[in-house]
C-alpha cells in the first residue's frame, strides 16, 4: 500500500536522522513502526528496498559502525549536514529570475524537477518571485519520449542505445545536449563508429535505452557541447557575392551586406543598390537570393549567377509543366 509505505519511509528517515549513533538493522526493526510484525525474511527484503528507494531520492543513508570491533554488523545513519539543504539566501533580483525560471519547462521530467527544486527553496523560507518578470514567457520545449532518457543519461554519464532514422542501433556516450532553432540534439562519442557525433533527438526512433551504469565514461574536458554544436553552424565565409537589391527591399539580406561597386561590364537596373556579402554555402546563397526574387539579383561571381539562373529557370519550367496558367 503506497500510504503505509510512505509513512514507513518518512519514519525511517526521521529515525536515522535523529539518531546520534549508527543503528543496526535489528534496532531499526524494533524502532520503526512499519517494520514491526514482519518476519525476518520479509523485514530484510522490505528494509533493503526502502533503503534503496530513499537513496534514489537523494536521502544520504550512510553505512558504518561506531564500534570498530563489530565491523561485520553494519549500522545506518543519516548525517544532518549531508541531508539538509545548506543555508542560502537570495536577493530580490535573484528571486525574480528564479520566479521566471519556474516557467521555462512545460513538459518532461525537467518541469517536475524544477518545480520540486523551487518548492524546496520555498520550504527553506525563500520565495521565488513570479510576479515581477511576468512579461517573459521563456519556454523551452522538451517533448517526446526520447528526451527524458537522454537528459538523465547525459546527467548521469550512462551509455544510451537507440535507433536513428531507420539505421543500425547506435551506442552513444552522451556528452551533452544542445537546443537550437527549437530542436534538441545530443552530442557524444559514437562507440560503434569510434568518433564524435551529433544526433537530432526528434529523429531517434522509439525510446532510447540507458545501457550502462552511471559514470560509465568521462566527458573529455575539451569536448564542450557548445563547441561541437558549432559544427552545425554554417562555416566561415570563403566567397563573396555581389548583389543588386531593390531600394527599400530585402532588409534582412541588406543587414548582413556592405555597399559595393558593380563588377565591370555589368549594368545595374534602375532603383537597385549594389552590395556585397560573404558566404560559405553556395546552396544557401542561391536560396537566399531566389527567395527575394525579383528584388535581389546576383551580379557576381559568375558561378553564383549561373546557379541562380538555373534555379529560377527550373521554377518557370516546372510551373509550365504543371499546366498552371500564367
Amino acid at each position: 500500500m503506497p500510504a503505509s509505505k510512505s509513512e514507513r519511509l518518512v519514519n525511517l528517515t526521521i529515525c536515522l536522522l535523529v539518531s546520534p549513533r549508527y543503528l543496526s538493522r535489528e534496532q531499526i526493526r524494533h524502532t520503526v513502526e512499519g517494520y514491526r510484525g514482519l518476519g525476518e525474511a520479509a523485514f530484510v527484503r522490505t528494509f533493503e528496498r526502502d533503503k534503496d528507494d530513499l537513496r534514489a531520492m537523494g536521502v544520504p543513508i550512510e553505512t558504518g559502525s561506531d564500534d570498530p570491533f563489530f565491523e561485520d554488523e553494519p549500522g545506518y545513519r543519516i548525517r544532518r549536514g549531508d541531508f539538509e539543504l545548506p543555508p542560502v539566501n537570495f536577493t530580490a533580483d535573484e528571486l525574480s529570475v528564479l520566479g521566471a525560471a519556474a516557467r521555462v519547462w512545460h513538459e518532461a521530467s525537467a518541469a517536475a524537477s524544477t518545480a520540486s527544486a523551487l518548492a524546496k527553496l520555498r520550504a527553506a523560507g525563500l520565495e521565488p518571485d513570479a510576479d515581477r518578470l511576468t512579461a517573459l514567457e521563456p519556454t523551452v520545449s522538451a517533448e517526446g519520449p526520447a528526451f527524458d532518457v537522454l537528459w538523465s543519461a547525459t546527467r548521469d554519464r550512462r551509455v544510451v542505445e537507440f535507433q536513428y532514422r531507420g539505421g543500425a542501433t547506435r551506442h552513444l556516450e552522451p556528452w551533452g545536449m544542445t537546443w537550437r532553432s527549437g530542436h534538441w540534439y545530443v552530442v557524444g562519442r559514437d562507440r560503434d563508429k569510434q568518433e564524435t557525433r551529433i544526433f537530432r533527438v526528434s529523429r531517434i526512433v522509439g525510446v532510447p535505452r540507458a545501457s550502462s551504469r552511471s559514470g560509465a565514461f568521462e566527458v573529455p574536458p575539451d569536448a564542450r557541447p557548445a563547441e561541437l554544436a558549432r559544427n552545425l553552424e554554417p562555416g566561415e565565409p570563403d566567397a563573396t557575392a555581389i548583389l543588386a537589391i531593390r531600394s527599400g527591399r530585402a532588409p534582412l539580406l541588406r543587414r548582413q551586406a556592405r555597399s559595393a561597386t558593380p563588377p565591370p561590364g555589368v549594368t545595374v537596373p534602375d532603383g537597385f543598390d549594389v552590395v556585397e556579402l560573404g558566404y560559405h554555402s553556395a546552396l544557401d546563397m542561391v536560396g537566399q537570393v531566389c527567395a527575394a526574387a525579383p528584388d535581389v539579383l546576383p551580379l557576381a561571381p559568375p558561378e553564383l549567377c549561373d546557379r541562380v539562373v538555373a534555379h529560377l529557370q527550373d521554377i518557370v519550367a516546372s510551373h509550365a509543366g504543371a499546366g498552371a496558367s500564367s
Partner: protein, 325 residues
C-alpha cells in the same frame, strides 16, 4: 518514480514548508508542490502518522486536521527535526540551472548579474555544474531592443517598431504585452494599431523600438502562449507542398500542420507531403522560390503562379544586367 517515492520526496519538503509558512493555506501548499488540494490533505493524513521513534502520542507530528479539512489552513508542529528541506537531487539542480540560463537570454541586461549570482549560489548548494552539459541557443535579437520592449511592457507604453521582414521594412505602431520564447526564437506579442489585431513579431528582426509618447490601450487578453501557439499566426491560409529529397528539410525546419488526407495521394514515392501554415503570403512565395522546382505545389492549385511570375521577372532583370538596353 513510484507514487510513494514521489510522495515521500514531497513530504520531506512539505513538512519544513509548513513550518516556515505557519498557517499556510491548503491551496498555497497545493500550488507550491504542483498537486491537488485533495493530495495535500492525503499527504497530511500520512504526515500525521509520522514522528520520532517510540510511537507515543507526544512523539508524533501534530496537525490540526479539522482546521485543514474545513478551514483550509494548516497548522503543523512538533517536527523541529525536519525544519529544512533535503538537498537538491542532481536532476533538480540541472533542470533549475538550465532554466535559469534560458531566462538569462531574455532578461534585461540589468538583471544579468542576478542570474549569474543565482547560478553561483545554486552551484554552491550542489557542488555540481552538470547543467553545463546542456547548451541553450536562443535567437533573441539585440539587447537594446529587448530592454526597450521590456520597459515599454512594464510601463504600458505604446511604441513604434522598426521591423524588417524578408522582403521589406515597416514601422508598425504597437502596444507590446509579452516576450515569448518559442522554438528557440524570441517573439514579441503586441497589439498592432495598424491592423487592429494581435500580432507576433520576431525580436531579432526588430532593429529599433521607440516610445510614441502615448500610453498603451486596453485590448483584453493577448492570445495564449501555450502549445499550439502559432495557431493565431496562421490566419486562414495553408500551403501544401510535395518535397523531393534535398528539400525535405523544410518540413522539419518550419512549423507544419496535419495534411488533409485527400492531398496525401498526390505525392510520388520519393516525396514528402507537408502542409505549412501561412501567416503572410510573402512568406509562402519566398519559401517556394527558395526551394525551387524540387518543391511541387499540391494545394492551393494556383499557389505556384506568383513565384513563377517573380522568377520570370528576375530572369529578365538578370538578363538585362548583361545586355544594357
Amino acid at each position: 518514480m513510484s507514487t510513494s517515492a514521489e510522495q515521500v520526496g514531497r513530504l520531506l519538503a512539505l513538512i519544513p514548508f509548513l513550518q516556515s509558512h505557519r498557517g499556510a493555506s491548503v491551496a498555497d501548499a497545493a500550488r507550491t508542490f504542483g498537486v491537488s488540494e485533495q493530495q495535500i490533505i492525503a499527504d497530511l493524513g500520512i504526515t500525521w502518522m509520522c514522528g520520532l521513534p517510540g510511537g507515543l502520542p507526544d512523539d508524533l507530528i501534530e496537525i490540526d486536521m479539522d482546521a485543514a479539512r474545513e478551514g483550509g489552513r494548516i497548522d503543523l508542529t512538533n517536527a523541529d527535526y525536519l525544519s529544512r528541506p533535503t538537498r537538491f537531487t542532481p536532476d533538480e539542480a540541472m533542470s533549475l540551472m538550465v532554466a535559469l540560463r534560458v531566462v538569462a537570454e531574455l532578461v534585461p541586461a540589468a538583471l544579468a548579474p542576478a542570474v549569474a549570482s543565482a547560478l553561483a549560489k545554486l552551484e554552491s548548494l550542489t557542488g555540481d555544474r552538470s547543467d553545463e552539459r546542456v547548451v541553450i541557443e536562443v535567437s533573441a535579437g539585440v539587447d537594446h531592443v529587448r530592454e526597450a520592449l521590456t520597459r515599454a511592457i512594464e510601463e504600458h507604453a505604446r511604441v513604434r517598431l522598426h521591423y524588417d521582414s524578408a522582403t521589406r521594412s515597416s514601422e508598425p505602431v504597437v502596444d507590446p504585452v509579452r516576450i515569448d520564447l518559442r522554438d528557440g526564437v524570441a517573439y514579441l506579442e503586441a497589439w498592432s494599431l495598424d491592423r487592429g489585431a494581435w500580432r507576433t513579431f520576431r525580436i531579432d528582426r526588430i532593429s529599433a523600438c521607440e516610445p510614441t509618447g502615448d500610453a498603451a490601450g486596453g485590448h483584453g487578453a493577448a492570445p495564449d502562449p501555450e502549445p499550439g501557439w502559432f495557431n493565431h499566426l496562421r490566419g486562414d491560409n495553408e500551403i501544401t507542398l510535395a518535397l523531393a529529397p534535398g528539400v525535405a528539410w523544410a518540413g522539419e525546419y518550419y512549423p507544419t500542420t496535419p495534411t488533409p488526407s485527400q492531398l496525401l495521394d498526390a505525392a510520388r514515392p520519393d516525396e514528402v507531403v507537408c502542409t505549412f501554415p501561412v501567416a503572410d503570403p510573402e512568406w509562402s512565395v519566398g519559401l517556394q522560390l527558395r526551394l525551387g522546382a524540387r518543391a511541387r505545389v499540391i494545394d492551393p492549385p494556383h499557389a505556384g503562379d506568383e513565384p513563377a511570375q517573380r522568377a520570370r521577372d528576375a530572369l529578365a532583370l538578370i538578363e538585362s544586367t548583361h545586355h544594357p538596353s
